[in-house]
């Protein structure tokens, strides 16, 4: 039995068109994360990221305040902190400063002194990465020291590049 020509075109359309469209699909799917987000989306995303980091830092410090800190909690906090830190640098596109039209404490010198800002970001990523290793090491005094060192990168950058502090 042969398929009549009347059926061929719709079948081709049904199976063929999605196939024909396939090569185009991966382009937007892959390109989306690499593209710079819009200023407003970037501000919302980085503020959410900073809140996550603040909460993680508090969770870690709360453990260090107790006599018997729980390692699992501290490892989780350090991982959250480091992962969020790595996301932050790309969330400061041009135009996402005080002129963006939404509330942000980001100072304009982030964009005029970008090299220094990126250097501070690199320090945060390095220190928070080291924090995971130190927490996994399990030495409470060393964790305390590294938590302070990581926190110092937050504070140093905020003094320079954040308003209302």
């Amino acid at each position: 039995m042969t398929i009549s020509p009347a059926f061929r075109l719709p079948l081709l359309a049904l199976f063929g068109l999605p196939l024909a469209a396939m090569p185009m699909m991966p382009v937007p799917l892959n390109a989306a994360p690499a593209a710079a987000p819009t200023p407003k989306a970037a501000i919302a995303a980085r503020q959410a990221g900073y809140k996550k980091m603040g909460a993680a830092m508090k969770a870690l410090n709360d453990q260090l305040k107790t006599g018997t800190p729980m390692k699992a909690t501290m490892v989780g906090a350090a991982q959250t902190l480091a992962a969020a830190a790595r996301e932050q640098p790309r969330l400061f596109p041009a135009g996402s400063g005080p002129t963006a039209g939404v509330r942000t404490d980001a100072l304009p010198n982030i964009w005029t002194d970008r090299a220094t800002f990126d250097g501070q970001m690199a320090k945060l990523i390095a220190e928070s990465g080291k924090l995971i290793a130190v927490v996994n090491g399990g030495n409470v005094d060393a964790i305390r020291t590294q938590a302070k060192a990581t926190g110092a990168t937050c504070a140093a950058c905020h003094r320079q590049f954040r308003a209302d502090n």
Partner: protein, 223 residues
Amino acid sequence: MAPLAPSRSILIWDIYIRLFHWLLVALLGFSWWSGERHEMEWHRLSGYGIFFLLIFRVYWGVFGTGTARFAHFVRSPHATFVYLKALGQHPHRTTVGHNPAGGWSVLLLLATVMAMVIAGLFAVDVDGLESGPLSDYVSFDQGRMASDLHAMLFSLLLLLVALHIAAILYHLLRLRDDLVGPMFHGRRTLAVEEEVDLPAGTPWRALVGLLIAAACTWAIGFR
């Protein structure tokens, strides 16, 4: 022996009230300075100091000397209104201790500073690095809210302090009544016919209050 002068000097503010007042002024100033400078270790200690003072003041408001007692200076809103209406009329009659309006001002000031200290106990900074001693009982977001409340209450406190100073200036300039001097030396000159009997607070009562305040502060700040 008949008194030669028509007036006499009596003690209206005991040493505990005067110390409370000026230590509170000093610690509020220091708290502001250390907070602005991000000297959070100092800021926390200063807050504990204020907490200690407030606990003692509340105790002294119940068990202390005459003018310190809440029962002595907390008047009904009606009495306060009547007092304020008569305020501009001459001659001005001085009050032994807090006048009715001043009494409400004191209550409001004490409540604001107390609320501010309590908010500070739970406050968390933006980085999750510095926090009040009870912040481990709340989440990061709740701690941030406590911190915002702490800041808002400070604005309210500044307003109340401005009102406090304005009232003192009004007494000094319009009513020719110096309120600042007595807060230093505790004494005030009154006409002899104004019979006042102020029960004296005993040192051991003050000691009990100091111990209670110290225990409360220790339990919260140094647990």
